[in-house]
């Protein structure tokens, strides 16, 4: 079907066609009122086979980790073990209701309790809440806790949050949403946050710094100890963006480095599925001084005259609930299973392989695609995707990669590298896959030199050609006009 436009389910609709054959009525016919019976809904009329084929065809046009290599930097698109899916579907997990009496779901609470403890152990934090449903919501939650902390201290002039220019775009957005002012800090020549800029910015109006380590260049912040010391010395708190935890899990603990808050992306580091907008899970870990501000409910283990049991509790000065019920429970089950399967040694090994794979790609590709901050990287690296003298840009290389069967890397981010391609292979890819990707990238660079139009016109093998992103953004059309089926 390549190259063929798939009609929408409305275009496939045939007046009068029916998906189910109902048995003969054995009760008297009762008319529906005009309010209940609408003819303007325009629902499509199709047979079951039409519907099955339509959606199967659409599903075959998806590209996911299960279909191929997906080196989307900063997203950690690792393989999600299938056994975790089976475990999450066990009736005790999948069919429990969030409003059930906690006494009847002690196993689920035990799982949440242990996961809170394991994440705290992995990150080096005093306590964890599993509430936030995504990384950015974890950021927002962390900042609200920082705000509550300063209110509690009566320190109301701390309104500024320092953010390196290599930060994820969500950091300044979360900062603004939480009522703080974002202050951008430049990077130095080695891709670290500029230490002198941190020193100058630190004063008694600083609520804290939001820092990602390794940063979005995939580089370990070489002065992280000094950055944390400077921020703490001026009375500020340190927020860690845990999006890049896949480089550190099992090796280094942000809490030990002095971080006060960090969110974990279970859908990245702990292999719960993501893409297409969810479902994510972004638990937050905190140091002892922020523990009582955590969003709840959290799970606690108690033992009294009624015996030992798990209970749901709100921390004393909690900022409240940040999502319905207990966060994305199904994701918690998968992350629990993942940690359980790998253990401490396995998590460390995964991080080591993630770092090794990314360094292998950088070294093999750097002669073809320049790496502006060329030093040993962590789980990802950033190269320039433009090919000098050909007019071929990073976006063109990415589109051509589709023809070679690979998902493109992250484009044009971080902003501090022009024509950036941010490549994160993850630990789950084997060497032959990495080698095939390297060959494809080198082949595209050759094509760019010999026949730039081929690359600039890519993709050629996809169901649709190059999409006009500018037109799509300038002329927004959010819905298709629904034509009543019986028109």
């Amino acid at each position: 079907m390549i190259g063929h436009k798939i009609p929408t389910v409305y275009e496939r609709s045939v007046f009068g066609r029916c998906g189910v054959a109902l048995p003969a009525r054995d009760v008297p016919e009762a008319p529906l009122s005009a309010v209940e019976l609408r003819t303007d809904c325009g629902l499509p009329e199709l047979s079951q086979l039409d519907v099955a084929r339509h959606y199967l065809l659409l599903s075959q046009r998806n590209f996911g980790v299960d279909s191929g290599f997906y080196p989307l930097g900063s997203c950690t698109m690792k393989f999600n073990p299938k056994i975790n899916e089976q475990i999450a579907r066990l009736p005790g997990f999948a069919e429990s209701h969030p409003l059930q009496d906690p006494e009847t779901v002690q196993g689920n609470l035990a799982l949440m309790f242990e996961l809170q403890q394991w994440l705290a152990e992995i990150g080096g934090f005093a306590s964890v809440s599993l509430q936030p449903s995504a990384g950015a919501q974890g950021e927002f939650t962390g900042l609200l806790m920082m705000r509550a902390y300063y209110r509690e201290c009566g320190d109301l002039k701390r309104t500024r949050i320092l953010i390196p220019d290599s930060a994820h775009g969500t950091n300044p957005a979360s900062t603004t949403m939480a009522g703080f002012t974002a202050v951008e800090l430049p990077s130095d020549a080695r891709g670290n946050v500029d230490l002198e800029a941190v020193r100058v910015a630190c004063d008694d109006t600083v609520a804290g710094i939001m820092i990602t380590n390794p940063n979005t260049l995939g580089l370990f912040e070489e002065h992280i100890g000094e950055v944390v010391r400077l921020v703490h010395a001026c009375g500020g708190l340190v927020y860690g963006d845990g999006a890049n935890m896949n480089a550190l899990a099992g090796i280094a603990r942000p809490g030990d480095l002095g971080f006060d808050v960090m969110h974990y992306n279970l859908h990245k580091t702990f292999s719960t599925p993501h893409g297409g907008g969810g479902p994510g899970s972004g638990p937050v870990g905190v140091s002892a001084r922020l523990k009582e501000f955590l969003p709840g409910p959290v799970v606690e283990y108690m033992r009294d005259t009624d015996g030992a049991r798990y209970v749901l509790a709100m921390p004393a000065k909690s900022i409240g609930q940040v999502s319905t019920f207990y966060g994305n429970f199904g994701m918690l089950v998968r992350a629990y299973a993942y940690i359980r399967q790998h253990g401490a040694d396995g998590l460390r090994e995964n991080s080591e392989h993630a770092v090794l794979n990314a360094n292998y790609l950088r070294v093999k590709l750097r002669d073809t695609f320049a790496v502006p901050f060329d030093r040993t990287n962590m789980h990802e690296f950033v190269c320039r995707g433009a090919i000098d003298g050909t007019g071929v840009r990073a976006l063109d290389v990415s589109k051509r990669l589709l023809d070679y069967g690979f998902h493109p890397p992250t484009n044009y981010f971080p902003l501090i590298v022009s024509e950036a391609l941010m490549i994160e292979p993850t630990e789950t890819e084997a060497k032959p896959t990495l080698d095939a990707f390297i060959e494809a990238m080198q082949a595209i660079a050759k094509e760019a030199a010999n026949d730039p139009a081929l690359v600039k016109g890519a993709p050629h093998e996809m169901p649709v050609k190059r999409l006009d992103e500018v037109k799509a953004a300038r002329e927004l059309i959010f819905c298709d006009r629904v034509k009543a089926a019986n028109d």
Binding site: P372, S418, V470
Partner: protein
């Protein structure tokens, strides 16, 4: 004659302490086709370096800073429906806003064309 900032804004003196502000050709080229421009309200008082406008392309959203302090007198309303004007004529019909300069001395902090050009050449070497 245009004056520049290291953040890729240009400023043109129109006389009577009024100046027109926009983004440079270098900036629009690196951003790519603009899809949205957010302009300040007339009457907004900006200090030098304050966020004055936002320009968004399919690649990224970037802030435009006030090259000098002053009050916004008028904005280029055409950009609301035709953001592409900034790409087509960054220093002409693609101007962003006009402002009444608060302190003429701040003009001395701006770059001349040659200094700005050497800055962008150094950037591209990266």
């Amino acid at each position: 004659m245009l004056k520049y900032t290291k953040d890729h804004e240009w400023l043109r003196l129109d006389g009577d302490g009024v100046a027109t502000v926009g983004i440079t050709s270098y900036a629009q080229e690196h951003l790519g086709d603009l899809v949205f421009v957010e302009l300040p309200s007339t009457g907004t008082k900006l200090s030098k370096g304050a966020i004055a406008a936002t320009v968004e392309s399919v690649k990224a959203a970037s802030e435009v800073y006030a090259p000098v302090g002053g009050e916004v007198l008028s904005v280029n309303d055409k950009l609301t429906t035709e953001p592409g004007l900034v790409n087509a004529e960054p220093t002409g019909d693609g101007w962003l806003f006009k402002m009444k300069i608060a302190d003429g001395a701040e003009l001395d902090t701006l770059l001349d064309e040659q200094t700005y050009k050497s800055l962008t050449t150094a950037h591209d070497g990266h």
